[in-house]
Amino acid sequence: MATAAGPPPDDSAVPAGGRTRTRRVLSGIARPYRDSHGVGRFMLVTGTVLAAIMVVLAVFAPLIAPFGFAQVADVDGERFGNHLEPGGVHLFGTTTQGFDVFSRVVWGARTAVTVVLLALVFSLIVGVLLGLVAGYVGRWVDRLLVMIMDSLFALPALLLAIVVAFLLAEHIGGGAATAALAITAVYVPQYFRVVRAATVSAKEQTYVEAARAMGARSGTIMFRYLLNNVIQSVPVIATLNAADAILTLAGLGFLGYGIQPTEAAEWGYDLQRAVTDAGTGIWWTGLFPGMAIVLLVMGLTLMGEGLNETINPAIRVRRMLSITLPERAHESRPGVSPVSRQPGPGPEQDGEAGKDGAQ
């Protein structure tokens, strides 16, 4: 085999199909972790761990949080008290309204993860589809979509989210869906841009022309030839956008246009309440939800940058393992003795270098 870098050839003639495919997908997910090294790997792993912790908090919030997010009294009906300092039953203290800060942080993770996942799915579907169509079809469809998306891009993200949340709140209330849709509006143009650009360049690839040459219809070309290859640019930007989306969600909450406090715990809202506390020297109401945001956003950003480092060829470092050249040893076999080369210099030259000399 002349291809040096490919995975080991699997000669076992497995009547593949489904299994090969699943394996490929799985190994595709695992690849960045396997292939990364150095700083990139550190970032990728740290980021994944941070994000995973937050996801665990989100999934198991009911088990982890000692109290409900809007609970101000324990089961016996006894009120917690306002502005309790951290410690004891209330690990992170309590807020002005008498909520348990730790519980709100944990429940807040659930809100953040839910909203961002929803927004991610919505904006991916819309953005990828539109980007694919615009990039492939071109002409006026492309020009129109680009113009609209560029204009949306020119609106400050937070502003766009506020406006959409504000308008939607009138109709469907201030729940997670509203927040998710507001965030979707912000990120659709980004996916659109990335996917469109990838499509436009992939469209010029020979394999797409080959598909046309075999008579494939536009739909087939888009979904069987382009989508697969275009989608590869998505994971990095999706992770980074997820991080950004957390910030947008918190921004919405901070301004009071996100999720209403009665519906779910939301870190941005908690921080807004904490601004007034800061003036009186109460630090715990703001610090903990703030830290939660920072950790989640950092986790996702680290993951995104780590991914970028391993899969983006433009900045990837080719791994250079350090080697030492083996001593030149004369290969002596029974009955053969080395001679000096005729035109060459000293006798000490030549001979096959040691076989296992590497590393």
């Binding site: 002349a2 050839p9 003639a13 394999y207 080959a210 040459a213 075999m214 008579g215 494939a216």
Partner: protein
């Protein structure tokens, strides 16, 4: 091997054993123009920008069973022409008659059916395969698109057959491979297998071996020759490599800036090239024979900008034998001065630069041009500079095209001889588009013919 292991072609076209001169495809007055959208506004509103005539009036009859070479350098339009034949590029005008249909105007859905019979092999086999599709899917896909198989088992059988046909044996070993797991030669074999799997009659091969390692080039060419013999294929072989063209083709068409400048049987063209461009190309091929040398005299400069091709014969600015009717214009005068300064050096340049700075703004393609005289200088200075330039390089073909230089009303007027677009005309066994071979025009004595 008479019986092909692959499906035979639809009945209408299986007229095997027909005469060599049967026309398979007829290309008439084919033109392909591209719009270059150069700026943001043009991109936004569409239209505007420059037009590039990638293919500029080509007439070729493709004979059944032959290998026709389209030979040219980059920008000659050979690839565009090849893609147009397959309906992958819409021509701006002209006809491509195939059977009783005109590919130039065929609707997409009808064209789709034809693609079974017209296929393409690409230059870069790596890029020609979808990186996310394994060999089985890549080869099976055309069958499915064309509705040639009823079920998976049938598809697999056909894929295995095609793989074996192109020498990828045992086929089972290759079915589940992704393109990234194949070597260059193997990829190209897979691309060829995909091209023949539907049973085509014409293959357009665009530089099929130029990206491959030296040691597999011959193998792929040999495979293509075998396939041609066994499957009664006709090839259009696009290349810039004259050596493989000479070996591989029955006929070659030499292309320059969108036009065919010479076309004819391979032996004749290589034995006795008639167009100065063909001659230059042939002489410039580096050959492993140390006795054979590239001549010192080579056409100067490079292929001109296709968006603004030269007036008259496109090759005239580079042609050592160019004469009166070749299409001289103001741009050639500017090029002459650039050559002059390159030869004579900085001082001459510094002295003359200012006087002829207006040359670059002159309109192209006009017979009479007025050279602007820079302020502070007078026309007679400019005139005498032109006279000097002429006296120092009297043999430059440009001067044959200059009818006269006058000083009128403080301006210098230069009249060029009328340029004529050369047409293909039959000379001996080949067709060549060059005024040197037009008996009505009198080429200069020293042209060497």
């Amino acid at each position: 091997m008479r019986r092909s292991p692959l499906p035979t072609k639809p009945d209408v076209l299986t007229s095997t054993g027909g005469a060599q001169d049967d026309a398979l495809m007829e290309i008439r007055d084919l033109e392909v123009h591209f719009q270059l959208r150069s700026n943001a506004l043009a991109r936004l509103v569409g239209g505007g920008g420059e037009t590039v005539k990638a293919v500029d009036g080509v007439n070729i009859t493709l004979r059944k069973g032959e290998v026709l070479g389209l030979v040219g350098e980059s920008g000659s339009g050979k690839t565009t022409l090849g893609r147009t034949l397959l309906g992958l590029v819409r021509p701006s005008s002209g006809q491509i008659l195939y059977g009783n249909q005109d590919i130039a105007r065929l609707r997409q859905n009808k064209m789709r059916k034809l693609r079974q019979r017209l296929q393409m092999v690409f230059q870069d086999p790596h890029a020609a395969l979808n990186p996310a599709m394994d060999v089985r899917a890549a080869l099976g896909h055309p069958l499915r698109i064309q509705g040639l198989v009823r079920n998976k088992a049938e598809e697999r059988a056909r894929v295995v057959e095609a793989l074996e046909r192109v020498g990828l044996t045992p086929a089972e070993q290759f079915l589940d491979k992704l393109p990234s797991e194949l070597s260059g030669g193997q990829k190209q074999r897979a691309v060829i297998a995909r091209a023949i799997i539907c049973g085509p009659e014409l293959l357009v091969a665009d530089e099929p071996i130029s990206m491959l390692d030296m040691s597999v080039r011959a193998k792929i060419l040999e495979l293509m020759l075998e396939l041609r013999r066994d499957l009664d294929l006709t090839y259009v072989y696009i290349t810039h490599d004259l050596a493989t063209a000479k070996f591989f083709c029955d006929r070659v068409a030499i292309m320059y800036l969108g036009r065919v400048v010479e076309i004819g049987p391979t032996e004749e063209i290589f034995a006795d090239p008639k167009h100065p461009y063909t001659q230059a190309l042939l002489a410039a091929v580096p050959d492993p024979d140390p006795e054979r040398r590239i001549p010192r005299e080579l056409p100067r400069g490079e292929i001109p900008d296709a968006a603004a091709p030269p007036h008259g014969c496109s090759f005239h600015p580079r042609c050592p034998f160019a004469f009166e009717p070749c299409g001289w214009e103001a741009r050639d005068l500017q090029a002459l001065f650039e050559r002059r300064w390159t030869e004579r050096g900085e001082e001459v340049f510094a002295r003359e630069e200012h006087l002829v700075e207006g040359l670059s703004d002159l309109p192209s393609g006009q017979e009479t041009v007025r050279l602007p005289v820079p302020s502070g200088r007078n026309a007679s200075e400019l005139k005498s500079l032109l006279d000097d330039a002429r006296a120092e390089a009297p043999d430059d073909p440009l001067w044959r095209g200059v009818e006269d230089i006058d000083v009128e009303d403080g301006q210098v007027t230069l009249r060029f001889r009328a340029g004529i677009d050369p047409e293909l005309r039959t000379v001996g066994g080949v067709d060549v588009a060059c005024h040197l071979h037009d008996p009505d025009l009198k080429p200069p004595e020293n042209a060497g013919y």
